[in-house]
């Protein structure tokens, strides 16, 4: 029977077994300082999230290239895998990276579902996981793990700053809220509402279109019917949803009736060319802006443009920061990465000046970010988000100082 033969062929021959056990011995016995630190990077390379996955990958690799793929005297070996942004695939690939490629740290993760699906696995197997995007808030609160770190944001974190700003300096006291009907959408709305209502803001209506709605018109019609009672429209959309939101809002004249105040994803730099003048004048808030005039950001943007011939996105920056976090921690333990407790402690203490501003973790291992208020403006033929205000030190439980 044919299948008997090839199943046999999969069983290791004695010689192979011997070699395997010898290499295992070598790994265990001589905690070799010349053995590389193996990092597994998990991100989607196909499908809807392919581009932002690639951006993150580019940023991550850019930092490793700049530092010569080494830190604290140790070489760094990188193995990438495609999560397809599907939780089940992500889990399979995480297992593969850890069990087959023997990676010692995992990084990446765009999709919160993937992050949840591998949460128990990394926790049980004591694999440090550096999340460079996925924002599901429980990952660094109720479901936190000493092995999980996040350098991007928790859903609602940035929005807490946004809500406070809208009700105070933004002078939008009465708002309509609109976000896609999925967990990230609801988590971001919750963060916004918390500080917005605490600062005296009033919510006129909440509208939740299904994620990936081809046509937002029925929902925009509801916005218009309530426009008389409100000062502003708050929204969070990403990717093709964001393009449809901005363009269709312009078609229905929403901008003439209401101030648009959105999370930065909604007017992501990569999407602006597809929005054109429809995005002009929109106020947004985000933990990053391409136009930041800091030395760190200018250096990062220049290097990124040189290497990839395009502008970095917030995802590129998150990848870049993620690689630096690992690298700084390895440096702090002087390459003695194998002492896991020490390494985790070093990760928690990492601090440096990132392109977005000062970087450090809170006690739940989630990043504390500055939040920038930006306005979409035209410079020459190009649309860009120009920083008009800044709220420093926003953590995932942020509330304005009394």
């Amino acid at each position: 029977m044919a299948y008997a033969e090839f199943l046999f062929a999969r069983a290791p021959r004695p010689a192979v077994l011997l070699a395997l056990s010898l290499s295992a011995l070598a790994r265990a016995g001589f905690a070799a300082t010349d053995a590389p630190i193996r990092i597994g990077f998990l991100t989607p390379y196909v499908g809807v999230y392919a581009k932002i996955g690639k951006d993150m990958d580019n940023g991550f690799k850019l930092y490793l290239e700049e530092t010569g793929y080494q830190a604290g005297g140790r070489k760094i070996a990188l193995q990438t895998e495609d999560s397809e942004a599907k939780p089940d695939v992500g889990l399979t690939k995480a297992r593969k990276l850890v069990e087959k490629d023997q990676v010692q740290i995992l990084a990446g993760i765009i999709h919160s579902g993937v992050a949840y699906s591998i949460r128990n696995y990394v926790d049980a197997n004591r694999i440090p996981l550096i999340i460079t995007n996925a924002g599901a808030e429980r990952l660094t609160s109720a479901d936190r793990s000493p092995y999980i770190f996040r350098v991007s944001f928790a859903n609602g974190q940035t929005d807490r700053a946004g809500g406070w700003y809208a009700a105070t300096k933004g002078k939008m006291r009465r708002m309509i809220l609109m976000a896609p009907d999925y967990s990230a959408g609801h988590e971001k709305v919750a963060g916004f509402k918390k500080t917005f209502t605490a600062a005296g803001g009033k919510i006129v209506a909440e509208i939740y279109p299904p994620l990936g709605s081809q046509d937002l018109a029925p929902f925009l019609a509801q916005v218009i019917s309530k426009a008389g009672e409100a000062d502003g429209l708050w929204a969070f959309f990403a990717g093709s949803d964001a393009i449809r939101f901005i363009n269709q809002s312009a078609e229905y004249g929403v901008k003439q009736k209401l101030k648009l105040f959105v999370l930065g994803d909604t007017v992501d730099d990569a999407l602006l060319p597809s929005m054109g003048d429809a995005a002009l004048g929109v106020i947004s808030y985000l933990h990053y802006a391409l136009t930041l005039e800091t030395a760190e950001n200018k250096k990062f943007v220049a290097a990124y443009r040189k290497r990839y011939s395009e502008d970095p996105s917030m995802f590129s920056e998150q990848g870049y920061v993620g690689a630096r976090v690992i690298s700084e921690a390895v440096k702090a333990v002087k390459g003695n990465f194998e002492n896991k407790e020490q390494f985790l402690a070093a990760l928690r203490r990492v601090q440096f000046e990132a392109p977005r501003g000062p970087f450090r973790f809170d006690e739940f291992q989630n990043v504390i970010n500055p939040v920038y208020i930006r306005r979409t403006e035209k410079s020459g033929n190009r649309l860009q988000s120009v920083v008009i205000d800044k709220i420093p030190n926003v953590d995932q439980f942020w509330e304005p100082k009394k």
Binding site: K51, D181, Y208, S213
Partner: protein
Amino acid sequence: MTFWIIQLFNGLSFAMLLFLLAAGLSVVFGVMKVINLAHGSFYLIGGYVALSVLSATGSFLLAAAAAVLAGASVAAVLQTAFLRRFYDNELAQVLLTFGFLFIIADLCLVVWGGNPQALPKPALLAGSVVFGEIVIPVYRLFVTAVGLLFAGALWLLFEKTRWGAMARAAVDDPEMCRGLGVNVPVLCTSVFVAGAALAAFGGFMGGSFVGVYPGADFEILLYSFVVVIIGGLGSLPGAFVGSLIVGLLDNFGKALFPELSLFTIFAPMALLLAVKPTGLFGK
């Protein structure tokens, strides 16, 4: 009243876009008995090619022509080099078109990158018509008009031309059709290419409405399937009525019962499958 008028126009314009996308799938199914899982890929090709040509030339007419041509050429290769060899083997055809769905998606990702994009609108169609409280974007009126125009033209093509008569005969009874001396392979190729060209044109029209992005191929495919299953497999009037039902139900459903919007598309399909599995106009 205002609400109803606005929503009616919204639903109608979305329905007409759906018709452009679903008509090809339905007719190809009817004539060739092929479930073309790569149908949405022609939307993607049309949208992306239109984007590139538009940014190079600035001409919307050239962009539309290029989109249609690109969709038709890919379809011609797919049909003559692969699908035609598996006449009557529906399983092989399904797997082939599924393979092409992957291949085209990945090639588009390589060529056009993964950023979601949208076609700009011609300045002429960019504004809105305002009657008092009622705001209707001009582009939606345009999409509605084009959809109706195509529906009429396709109906004439099917009912009044020799080609249409042959295609209808092939839907009803392919064996008889062959017996009567119709060159079935040529007929099939022409139907397949025309269906793909229509979907690619849908990519051009929908590019500034729905957008062009990785994964659009799959979403468009699913919407088209719902339309075709409700309207009835292989029926052009069915595709038209199916588009209207899905477009309007989707719109009014979302506007009136936003918390139930998950069922506005799948519920009618499931209901119809239980009552009349061949769809409203299917045989």
